[in-house]
């Protein structure tokens, strides 16, 4: 059975180039509009009102305990970065 490079055995045929590009553009547009809507609704928060935001679980970063999880994911997956870990280099990972 001939297997087309880029697919694994039994994988259905992928989307055509134009359809995939349309989906990428619409996903990108949706994300941009969502982000703009989110940022436009910002309010000023005084220091004494930040008790909830300063909770340790509210930190906008990955946890220390995720450090080695990010590491094994960079070896076992093709994607990396934008999560506090490396985007490449520093190890024999992807």
């Amino acid at each position: 059975m001939h297997v087309r490079p880029g697919s694994i055995i039994g994988e259905p045929v992928s989307l055509s180039g134009k359809t995939a590009l349309k989906m990428k553009k619409s996903t990108f547009t949706f994300l941009c509009i969502s982000i703009l809507f989110l940022l436009s609704s910002c309010v000023s928060v005084k220091e004494y009102q930040k008790n909830k935001l300063n909770d340790a679980d509210m930190a906008l970063s990955s946890r220390k305990a995720e450090k080695n999880e990010l590491n094994f994911q960079s070896y076992r997956e093709g994607a990396s970065g934008a999560n506090g870990g490396k985007t490449g280099g520093g190890c024999g990972c992807n």
Binding site: K24, M58, L60, R63, N83
Partner: protein, 407 residues
């Protein structure tokens, strides 16, 4: 009756007096307030973190054996980080962080670097690091760092520099530049090695095995924004370019005619990941942490990652946080499974990290931080986190991590 009326009028006048301060008065009060006073604070110990993890994995698509074969791996990693902080009377804060990591792994497939299956299956990686950060009273930060990593087949020197500042309405922006100058030791499969020295379980490996360079340049830009008293968001974007020897020399590829070759990938790779975090404080017991990342590169891989975690506070000092992560990627144009590549392919790999697959990663973490330390010691907090990972390629793994913090 007169007394009651007078009392009511008196209370009303008191109310008027309490809220009678005009805007001008409050501004004048702020203007006459003393500026904050900073004191010199010499460099002193702040905290020690120890992160220890145990990882085990199983699968059937070892890249060393051309996309087939056992992928059993165990890894024990330990990372120690010590932080020192100083401050001066101008309000500047200085942080110096030193780290040392030691990982030891065993991998069943490593035995098959030698065609007889006699190569050593274990290895140790040591990686020290040093970081310096300076923060001004106005919220501007600059940072510098250096990392080094050493394992038998891979050496890395990393340098980084960063700059950040705060913006109005609760925003923070920071950027970072990273450079990794790596060397890949050219340990080929024994039947394909052009060098006379072959790694075996008895030998120490040859110092005569040459290395090939791999360079990584990346820049990251992050923006954090407070939306309201319960919601904040972060936007993260990296751009990375890699050049040099980007494959691994001990990965085999079998062509459809039965011939065996060393994995061959292009000497340039360009990556763009972009992510967003959204954290919401539902109430005093529940928080929602969410994350989404989109990734694309010029090797044809496009990936989506979505993660949700819900920490639940059982009491102020103990919380449980279940989580779920979903990941999906398309295959690289250079990937094909065992005996699927042909002589016409310019580049070829059978490493299933570059194949199309979905994965799920789920588990739970617990966090405890009693006010007087654990067991009345200087151990101020302990985190334990377990997760199970599974790919549609058949690879599955378990990881458990412990984080100890001493202050």
């Amino acid at each position: 009756m007169k007394k009651i009326c007078l009392s009511v009028i008196g209370i009303y006048l008191l109310f008027i007096q309490a809220f009678g301060q005009t805007k001008k008065d409050s501004v004048k009060q702020e203007q006459t307030q003393e500026p904050p006073v900073y004191l010199d604070k010499p460099l002193q110990f702040e905290e020690i973190n120890l992160v220890s993890s145990y990882y085990n994995q199983n699968g059937d698509h070892s890249a060393i054996q051309g996309g087939v074969g056992n992928e059993k791996v165990t890894d024990l990693s330990n990372g120690l980080e010590v932080k020192f902080v100083a401050a001066d009377r101008d309000g500047y804060k200085y942080t110096l962080t030193g780290g040392l990591g030691i990982d030891h792994h065993t991998a069943a497939s490593s035995a098959w670097v030698s065609v007889t299956g006699s190569s050593k299956t274990g290895g140790t990686r040591v990686y020290p690091s040093l970081h310096y950060t300076e923060e001004s009273p106005t919220g501007k930060t600059i940072s510098f760092g250096a990392t080094y990593s050493d394992e038998y087949n891979y050496h890395s020197l990393g340098l980084e520099a960063g700059y950040g500042f705060k913006v109005k309405k609760g925003g923070e922006f920071d950027t970072k530049l990273n450079v990794y100058l790596d060397k890949v030791r050219l340990i080929y499969p024994s039947e394909l090695s052009p060098y006379p020295v072959v790694v075996s379980s008895a030998s120490n490996g040859g110092s005569s095995i040459p290395s090939s360079p791999r360079y990584t340049f990346s820049g990251s830009a992050n923006y954090l924004q407070i939306i309201n008293q319960r919601l904040q968001a972060g936007f993260f974007m990296d751009i990375a370019a890699q050049a040099g020897y980007l494959q691994l020399p001990f990965h085999r590829v079998y062509f459809n005619n039965g011939s065996v070759h060393v994995e061959d990938l292009p000497a340039f790779r360009f990556k763009i990941p972009a992510g967003i975090r959204l954290n919401y404080f539902v109430n005093d017991r529940v928080i929602i942490r969410s994350y989404y990342r989109y990734y694309m590169d010029n090797w044809g891989i496009m990936a989506h990652t979505a993660n949700i975690e819900i920490p639940v506070k059982i009491n102020p000092f103990f919380s449980i946080a279940p989580y779920y992560r979903y990941y999906t990627q398309t295959a690289s144009q250079y990937f094909a499974p065992y005996k699927a590549h042909t002589r016409k392919d310019s580049y070829y790999t059978s490493n299933y990290s570059y194949s199309a697959f979905n994965s799920s990663f789920y588990g739970v973490g617990i966090h405890t931080a009693p006010p007087n330390g654990l067991w009345k010691t200087t151990l101020s907090s302990l985190d334990v986190r377990y997760g199970h990972y599974g790919q549609t390629t058949g690879l599955n793994s378990n990881v458990i991590s412990f984080v100890f913090v001493w202050k």
